[in-house]
């Protein structure tokens, strides 16, 4: 009977478990979880604070998930991996033998060394449910909140707590919101919407030092706050594999089978640096669907299957105060735009392929666009111009549609 060990208990771990079980009903699976709770939907923490879900509904899988899948769940921390003996040593003693190991350790908040940060009494990261619960305890209708970082994490936090605090200021060194996924025009559109919903911004400027409840910005401005949320960025948790001799870059380097450079070790999720088809090179794609899909591929391969996950691309669906934003792929090549009162659609094409898109406020059936990128569909085989205004299956040939809607897919 094969022995599987999974370090980490997030989305990639669930994908891995379900991947293993698709091939092997009997092998022993052990999951090591640092967070002392069953898997939950991490991106739901802002929705929790907003009151759109609750602790029970946040469970990513039903309560009997581990039992039904024959998994032993250990609350603890993996200290080291011995790739020769094929064992994982646990903090506090004990070791687990494995035939195949999946490192799905995710990422941790990156906190730059701000002067005076230690003396800030109420400071938070916004990554785990424990972070959200700690922040929730301090929410107060008069609280002034400073969020450092205008990326997805900082802005979802802002939305989640907006109705429960007095004032929110978001600062970022970048000159625009969501700078990792939006260009300047689209970011401007989103920023206006956020400002109309009561969020204040200091962009192209960031906190450089703290004096208890006062932040001094790079520009010299000062911001008074009661609660400080640090959402500057994240770092992949790669130490286990690095110490075991595996190749590590921004993340744990894996091939299309999700194998690390050390035999018997696989990696998936936010800690892994796998193939990104949109740039044709390895890159960390820290989004939930990718974590599941990488985890699933890892699990299948760990159990003796042979699948390759070669069409991963960055893609995001994120919304704030009713405005939905979707992005996918790479923004290179020729840009074409459709503007309406509700929003903006920008498409990027190159070498006869759709390479990427940004959709603000107009997201209906966007998966059709995403599939054109993922499948590398030659645009001369579809009527792409027709579908820029509204995504439609009409762009495909009759024969193609017959396969999609008249057959098993």
């Amino acid at each position: 009977m094969k022995r599987y060990v999974i370090v980490g208990n997030g989305t990639a771990a669930v994908g891995c478990i379900e991947g293993i079980r698709a091939c092997d009903r009997d092998g022993a699976i052990t999951v090591i979880s640092e967070e002392k709770r069953p898997v939950y939907g991490r991106p739901l923490i802002s929705y929790y604070l907003e009151g759109k879900t609750d602790l029970e509904k946040m469970n990513y899988r039903p309560a009997d998930f581990y039992e039904k899948n024959g998994c032993r769940l250990i609350y603890g921390r993996a200290a080291t991996v011995d790739p020769e003996k094929k064992t994982v040593a646990l903090d506090g003693g004990g070791s687990l033998p494995y035939d195949a190991l999946c490192v799905a350790t995710g990422s941790r908040p990156f906190v730059p060394p701000f002067e005076g940060l230690d003396a800030v009494e109420k400071k938070f990261s916004f990554m785990t449910l424990d972070d959200a619960l700690a922040l929730e305890k301090e929410l107060d209708k008069d609280a002034r909140v400073l969020i450092v970082g205008a990326g997805p994490i900082g802005l979802k936090c802002a939305e989640g707590i907006k109705e429960r605090v007095g004032r929110i200021t978001v600062c970022d060194l970048a000159d625009r919101v969501l700078s990792s996924i939006l260009d300047t025009d689209c970011a401007g559109f989103v920023q206006k919407h956020l400002e109309a919903n009561g969020i204040d911004f200091l962009l192209g400027d960031t906190a450089v030092k703290f004096d208890r409840n006062t932040a001094t910005m790079k520009s010299g401005k000062t911001v008074e706050f009661d609660l400080l949320v640090l959402a500057v960025g994240v770092r992949a948790n790669t130490d286990l594999v690095k110490a075991a001799g595996g190749t590590v870059n921004r993340g744990i380097v894996v091939d299309e089978k999700m194998q690390a450079s050390v035999p018997g070790i696989y990696s998936a999720g936010d800690c892994a640096e796998g193939y990104d088809a949109s740039i044709g090179a390895n890159r960390v794609i820290a989004i939930l669907p990718n974590a599941y899909l990488q985890g699933h591929a890892a699990g299948v391969n760990m159990a003796g299957g042979d699948v390759r996950y070669g069409n991963a691309i960055p893609m995001n669906s994120i919304g704030f105060f009713g405005l939905h934003i979707m992005t996918a792929g790479a923004y290179d090549g020729e840009m074409s735009e459709e503007k309406t009162e509700e929003g903006i659609k920008r498409f990027f094409t190159k070498d006869g392929l759709l390479r990427g898109y940004i959709l603000i406020g107009e997201t209906e059936r966007a998966g059709i666009y995403t599939s054109l990128i993922r499948e590398k569909t030659p645009l001369d085989t579809v009527d792409f111009d027709l579908t820029k205004k509204v995504a439609s299956n009409l762009i495909f040939s009759r024969e193609n549609r017959r396969k999609k809607f008249g057959g098993v897919v």
Partner: protein, 146 residues
């Protein structure tokens, strides 16, 4: 398993499937009361132009990307049917981002809805199929995928 399939050559573009779907999932007994003067949120939609029309609903894929991508774990597949637990859905639209067929859309309250083959409403079989005047939508067995 049986799935819903469309034959676009026979589709009249009448949109009756959309109304039958919205009515079937309304839980109400009277169609006029359920739909009249209201914006409807059907789980099937007709696409096309003045020459070609066809209805699109969930394909209940063998490897459903929506199930694998849902951030809330709200979408699952059981006995071949892809279902959504709307009490868990937070309306993030990630399923819309990934569905290659454009088969999911938000309902009236902003949470997502999709075709679940009318297996759990009062119809017991797809209302779009039953009501299609030209048999352009059928519910039948075609191949092995689960």
């Amino acid at each position: 398993m049986k799935r819903v399939y469309v034959n676009e050559e026979w589709c009249l573009g009448c949109h009756l499937c959309e109304y039958n779907c919205a009515f079937a999932n309304s839980g109400l007994k009277d169609m006029a009361f359920a739909l009249k003067d209201k914006k409807i949120f059907p789980r099937i939609h007709v696409e096309g132009d003045d020459k070609i029309t066809f209805a699109v609903s969930c394909r209940h894929c063998t490897d459903p990307l929506c199930v694998r991508s849902c951030i809330a774990g709200a979408i699952s597949k059981k006995d071949g049917v892809v279902k959504i637990d709307r009490t868990k859905c937070v309306g993030c639209l990630t399923c819309v981002l990934v569905c290659p067929y454009g088969a999911l859309a938000p309902g009236e309250n902003g949470t997502m809805q999709k075709c679940e083959l009318c297996l759990e409403n009062a119809c017991g079989a797809p209302a779009c199929v039953t009501g299609c005047p030209n048999k352009a939508i059928v519910y039948e067995e075609r191949g092995d995928g689960e």
